[in-house]
Symmetry: none
Subunit: 200 residues, 4 copies
DNA sequence: AATGAATGAGGGTTCATTCAT
DNA sequence: AATGAATGAACCCTCATTCAT
């Protein structure tokens, strides 16, 4: 990687960071390229020096933010040996990651929505599917390990893993609708109880 | 309500029905007013005789479809006396309603996304919050009844109700990403098991 | 053709007429869609009700103007029996058609230029090639008839026909460069003399 | 001219050479400044060290290429004494210069087109008019000499000269439209025959 | 002198909305 | 009441030009 490449990559990341803030707040549809440029503090045209078009910029933004989020989660998880503790931590980290602070998943969903139909606009959304798959795989591994070690019951691993990820995703819902009246912490507590009541 | 009003209401419903089909398939962003008009089989201008603008039409569509879905679910549930059976049925009905066939929730999410930020375009989305609230209330009622009758443990009712709705919502996720490799029926089965392992 | 189609075709022609005026004066590159809209006296968006994009509009304009020009020329020629008189008239009509009044050919050339390279923007320019071919064919027919009737020498018909069309085209040149100092009428006279000195 | 100036002039010529290749292939409209810079193998900004803007660069390119072409033609013609031979050679040289290999005239025409209207972008296109004038003057001189020497008929010299240049220009036409089906050599042969049948 | 990253004016195009019929 | 032709604001994107290094 030449020095120039470093600068370029730095700038891409800077743009992605600001782009994410705007996209998270306004959604894909309502985010104009000029909004992003303004947020980064650069000219509109400069965006096109780093990304071919809006779709690429948004895809790269989502990809990067997911990767960063996943990397950070996985790194922390890898340091934990006990499967139950690992799963418990996983739930909390995902709840955090999906929580309001991030908004990543709200954006994620909007984009998936737009491209789910087949003729959708996002081509590179395979990455999103991969990220999802990576997460379910991670959960599957944790579950298997727990079962092998006799910590968990012998549950259907693939279905349970999918369900766990779905639940974490579903916890997004109140953020859009009912921010005030829901005690997120409590709900998260119930999630853990419920999951382990099932696994034990 | 005069006969004319009835006609008017009929036509609104007809438009809403066709609009929903289009919106479900293409998403909010990619659905043009002309697409809807074409689907209904009327002129573009006529839409504006029945709805003030795109936002109103879409809001009314989502409202109506949610109401219809909820009405049908509640009607069926009211016929069931046993709380456990009621909750079990509720889970299945919601899974169905949120399932791929409907697509209602994918649309719902896309719209909520757009208006979540506060400055968003959808003003009338309070209705969505109400629908959500109505559902959690319904679940709360079922839980309370079950606890009162000694069928369920004494769980935190509000949090558990919220969680249940979130879980049902979260089950949408695979539809957009991983339609093929997920065995939806199995996952739904795990949901039931998990919920009741927690409530018992 | 329904009544609506008539109106539509009328409007297309109206747009084409105004578009031609603008294109002739400013050239393809410097003609903005808004210039054309303004010239027609309609909104910019309306152009797109009748033509898919700028390229289609320009292609249709050139096609139509060429067709009109050719139709008018051919109609007049068909009324003439004598080959020499026919060719003489042909030269004069083409000189007129290609003359400054029209500017059609200047535009024509600019467009062919842009699309000649192969990767060029104009896909429908086959029509231009056809128009050119139609003209050379017409000239070939006149030459053949003249030769058959013994009015002309036995020249190489295809090459001579191509050359005649090229000459007429070449007469455009002074219009762009030297409008003032060239006596077009005289030059046209020389063309005729030269051509017939060759054919006799 | 200081050594520095020589270097500068060298570089200008180098740029012009590459610029011509690109312009000939893509046309004015589709040639970006970056294309030229890349072709020269220098930075985009450097172009502006040698030419004030795109227009100047293109104008200089066309000017230079025309001058080079004319110089080479004139040098060769000056070595010929016999007027008929001179004219014959002139026709062949111009046919070559205007031929596909060069593409100079296709570019020339595109540019003249853009600036013909008066409000056009090219201010310095006077040079093109001068080059054209120089060519007609040259032809006039040849014709006069031929007439004086009794080799040619007493034709209208200015008109005939203009016509000859127009014909040579017109021979460009098939290159853009009908490259395949035209036997250029034969057509060029007919040109000579026709011209001399007129002059004798 | 040379560069190329940054810029932003400007163009083509879309589509929600209007309104004359 | 119903229509769809007309509209133009608004958006994405390009590319000639500038200027800090």
């Amino acid at each position: 990687m030449t020095p120039k490449m470093v600068d370029r990559e730095q700038k891409r990341l800077q743009i992605i960071g600001s782009a994410f803030n705007v996209l998270r707040d306004k959604g894909y549809m309502d985010t104009k390229m000029s909004d992003i440029a303004e947020a980064v503090g650069i000219g509109k045209g400069t965006l096109y020096e780093y990304f071919a078009n809006k779709e690429e910029l948004v895809a790269a933004t989502v990809e990067t933010m997911i990767r960063l989020s996943q990397d950070s989660i996985y790194r922390e998880l890898d340091a934990i040996a006990d499967p139950e503790e690992k799963l418990r931590r996983f739930i909390r980290l995902l709840a955090e990651a999906f929580g309001e602070e991030s908004g990543l998943f709200r954006l994620f969903i909007e984009i998936v929505r737009g491209s789910g139909g087949g003729g959708g606009r996002f081509e590179r959304m395979d990455y999103l599917a991969e990220a999802y798959k990576r997460t379910t795989n991670k959960v599957e591994a944790i579950l298997k390990e727990g079962i092998d070690k006799g910590v968990f019951r012998k549950v259907d691993v693939p279905s349970t893993a999918v369900l766990l990820v779905c639940i974490m995703d579903g916890l997004q819902l109140p953020y859009g609708l009912d921010r005030k009246s829901v005690d997120v912490k409590k709900v998260n507590g119930v999630v853990e109880e419920m999951v382990f009541s099932y696994l034990k």
